[in-house]
């Protein structure tokens, strides 16, 4: 019996420290019982797929945030990766093929190419931030624009379709039936990377150095941490994550265009922040990032089910960001 009481207390404390999550669960339950189809396997699968891709992007940007940086180029990098994947993976017999002289490529080769391009952009960001000491905000503001430019140039601002069906089928694939309970493959990709990042953040020197730099960069440097290379690695890894997300996003959407991924960096940063990643550095966990992203995606679906004019979504999402972070910061203010 005593155990139960303790658990109840614990749950209450947990609820108190995560009011926005509690609020959202409450709203979802209400929406679930007042509208039909909210509690459906299809909706769950949809939520998982959406969250999975956003989670990968947020994982990438989380390292930048923990080291007091940011990455505004995330969204455009996702867009570039999506377009690049699209162009390279178009069917050989597709009439609207953008680059007709490129042979039809294997989807895994394309993945490798896209990841390499992501790595190069990440490396560039990391180099500018760590070696040239340009503030991350400005650096990535610049590269964001450059990346978008390149994306427009090589797609000629044309939408890209006609993908190899093996690619779209595999990535939008699932375990289980379309009509009943199913789990999208994307869930497993997200879970694998979540675990990988948890391992990197908690169990490797790179992760510890990352938190140390966020906590006090000078102290880390003086303690013999190679701060430059650690920061470089963080932006490099981020670039790879955006590329992966872009590759998956193109398949999920069944098409790509230069405008894809626009604003995703802000959603990712917001998700991280809602999930407790501190903008003052040194604080943030992988489970936190997951919760933050989930909150955001849940919110979108709830609004959709409530039949709210989509334009209002932005207003509500913005409010949630501010309120969530304000509540989170209050915890620290109260302790003073």
């Amino acid at each position: 019996m005593e155990n139960k009481v303790l658990n109840g207390k614990r749950l209450l404390a947990l609820a108190k420290s995560n009011p926005i999550v509690v609020l959202l669960i409450a709203v979802s339950i209400i929406v679930g019982f007042t509208t039909s189809n909210f509690f459906s396997w299809g909706n769950l699968g949809n939520l998982i797929s959406n969250t999975a891709i956003r989670f990968l992007i947020a994982l990438g940007v989380s390292g930048c945030l923990i080291t007091k940086g940011t990455d505004l180029s995330a969204g455009r990098q996702v867009g570039l990766a999506a377009c690049l994947s699209g162009v390279l993976i178009q069917r050989g017999d597709y009439t609207g093929r953008l680059y007709k002289n490129i042979p039809e490529m294997n989807m895994w080769v394309v993945l490798l190419i896209v990841l390499c391009v992501g790595a190069i952009i990440g490396l560039l960001n990391g180099f500018i931030v760590s070696r040239l000491k340009v503030p991350p905000f400005i650096t990535t503001l610049g590269t964001q624009t450059i990346v978008y430019g390149f994306c427009l140039i090589f797609t000629d601002a044309q939408p890209i379709g006609g993908f190899q069906s093996v690619y779209t089928r595999l990535i939008t694939g699932r375990i289980g039936k379309v009509t009943g309970f199913y789990l999208p493959y994307l869930l497993f990709v997200a879970a694998a990377f979540g675990l990988l990042f948890w391992f990197i953040y908690n169990k490797t020197c790179h992760g510890k150095y990352m938190y140390a730099i966020g906590g006090n960069e000078v102290a880390a440097e003086v303690s013999g941490v190679n701060t430059k290379n650690t920061v470089l690695r963080i932006y490099l890894i981020a670039g790879v994550m955006y590329a992966l997300a872009g590759y998956l996003l193109a398949a999920k959407s069944g098409g790509a265009s230069a405008s894809m991924g626009q604003g995703y960096e802000l959603e990712a940063i917001a998700g991280c922040t809602i999930g407790g990643v501190s903008t003052t550095g040194g604080i943030g966990t992988v489970p936190g990032v997951l919760v933050g992203v989930l909150v955001f995606e849940m919110l979108k679906i709830v609004l959709q089910f409530l039949g709210v004019n989509p334009y209002y979504n932005y207003v509500v999402q913005g409010l949630v960001i501010v309120v969530a972070v304000a509540l989170d910061i209050r915890k620290y203010i109260a302790k003073k």
Binding site: K208, V218, A219
Partner: protein, 503 residues
């Protein structure tokens, strides 16, 4: 009319897990300097922050001129004539002195009779008069960032004076001042006393307290111990009351025996012509070499140069006869040199990280499984080993280091360096901002390390510490090494002679 200008009665304040103030009190008289003393964590700063409206008291009452008042925030405190110079300065470096001093209360004039704008002429004229009054030779338009730390502190004090306050709180005002600057501060204080200002003076420096103050209030662990006339007290009685026990030995007995020369620095010169020049010295195995000098003697800069934080243009560093190439701290660490930096907060601790993370950060590679996965068990045993050896008081290894006291934080950072088992350990002001009890413990650790054969370079600005802990003393003045003294034969006069040997 009350005898007291301000009274704080029965003040209690609790933070999560700690009773910071427990029925504390303070009574201030006009025109008197009231010293507030106690170890770090005794509650002095908390009490002052309650008076200044930064913290809300859980219990207690403040009276001014015998009437009960409530002070809700710092603005309220200022309007009631209470000013405070904080221990940690917060100037705006990129703005002129004048704007810093009148920040938040700029003189206003009306453009065309109705558009309010800042009256810069009056601002700078007022600042000039103020600076003249407190005898500071600065241009009001000079940017604060161009001043040294001690000069900033004097500007901060001038700012407090400009408010025409009735009560002035000085929280460790002389911690970074040179002797000459301390004298000018004292003359400012004398002038303020004549104007009837009550001054609260917080400091750890006994000689200053006994010289400048009229009354002394002593606190311990948040409790009020008592108030005495300064003339009734001596350094020893103050320490006894602060610590609550007799301190017979200020320094531990040292059993280290210096051996052969292990570390040699020759003709070391900074890239900055105003910094250290042509410095040569050596240190033996198991020797403690104290480094003395005035603030600004470039001692920190020299050590940071050796450690690779700053650049040098010429000179050699040899460890065990082998020349070292050091361009960054990592190079020095890899070759067996460690350095405890001067400012714990700025370059020592990583506040939001745990004790375990802080202690293991520079030796993480030692605790890996399969070459990449950190073994938490090994890190934990490192923490426990240090907790035991150095008597670090922490609830657990997961506790955030920022919630520990200064002394315990310092021990954690020392532990970080010892984990690499260095041959040479550079300690820059190892006991700054640490209370008396923890200081003794740190001295014991240093003595023990020397006994184990480590070579220790210790920069210190406390004369007693320099004389009490060193086997040999190197004195610097204005970037140059001006001489060496044997630890047993050295005295304050000899050190000061070398420390003031300007060209």
């Amino acid at each position: 009319m009350s005898e007291y200008l301000l009274e704080m009665k029965d003040v209690s304040k609790a933070f999560p897990g700690v009773q910071a103030l427990n029925h504390a009190q303070l009574k201030l008289k006009a025109g008197r300097v009231h010293a507030l003393m106690g170890e770090n964590g005794a509650g002095k700063s908390t009490l002052m922050k309650c008076m200044f409206g930064i913290y809300k008291m859980d219990q207690g009452q403040i009276y001014m001129d015998g009437k009960p008042v409530t002070i809700s925030d710092p603005i309220d405190a200022l309007s009631k004539g209470i000013a405070m110079v904080h221990q940690e300065l917060q100037p705006i470096p990129a703005r002129p002195i004048g704007e810093n001093i009148y920040l938040g209360r700029y003189p206003i004039k009306k453009l065309f009779g109705f558009i309010p704008i800042v009256d810069h002429d009056k601002l700078y004229k007022d600042t000039e008069e103020l600076l003249k009054k407190v005898k500071l030779p600065f241009d009001p338009r000079q940017h604060v960032g161009t001043l040294s730390t001690s000069q900033m502190q004097l500007v901060e004090i001038a700012k407090a004076v400009s408010i025409n306050c009735r009560i002035l709180i000085l929280d460790e005002p002389t911690s970074s001042l040179t002797q000459r600057e301390v004298e000018s501060l004292f003359s400012i204080i004398e002038d303020l006393k004549k104007d009837g200002v009550a001054i609260v003076y917080i400091s750890h420096k006994m000689d200053e307290i006994l010289r400048i103050s009229n009354e002394v209030t002593i606190m311990r662990d948040g409790n009020y111990i008592g108030t005495w006339e300064a003339s009734e007290l001596t350094t020893n009685t103050i320490i006894t009351k602060m610590v609550g026990r007799e301190l017979t030995n200020l320094f531990p007995k040292r059993e280290n025996i210096p051996g052969e020369v292990v570390f040699e620095v020759e003709d070391f010169t900074s890239i900055n012509p105003k910094s250290f020049r042509n410095v040569s010295f050596n240190i033996r195995r198991g020797e403690i070499l104290g480094v003395g000098g005035l603030v600004g003697a470039q001692r920190t800069e020299l050590m940071e140069g050796i450690f690779g934080i700053r650049s040098h243009i010429s000179g050699t560093v040899k460890l065990n006869g082998k020349e070292m190439r050091i361009t960054r701290p990592k190079d020095a660490i890899d070759q067996g040199v460690a350095m405890l930096t001067e400012s714990r907060r700025a370059s020592g601790i990583m506040g939001v990280l745990s004790v375990a993370d802080n202690i293991s950060i520079s030796s993480l590679k030692k605790y890996l499984d399969y070459g990449f996965a950190i073994n938490n068990g090994k890190v934990e045993s490192l923490v426990q080993d240090n907790v035991q050896k150095m008597n670090i008081k922490t609830p657990s290894s997961k506790t955030l280091i920022q919630s520990l006291s200064g002394g315990n934080q310092q021990k954690v950072v020392i532990g970080r360096w010892l984990a690499n088992n260095p041959d040479v350990l550079i300690l820059d002001e190892p006991t700054r901002g640490i209370d008396v009890g923890a200081k003794y413990e740190i001295y014991c650790i240093i003595a023990e390390l020397a006994k184990q054969g480590k070579s220790i370079l210790m920069i210190t600005s406390e004369m007693a510490e320099l004389l009490g802990m060193s086997d040999r003393i190197m004195v610097m003045c204005d970037g140059k090494c001006t001489g060496f003294l044997d630890g047993k034969e050295a005295n304050q006069e000899k050190v000061m002679n070398l420390a003031t040997k300007f060209d």
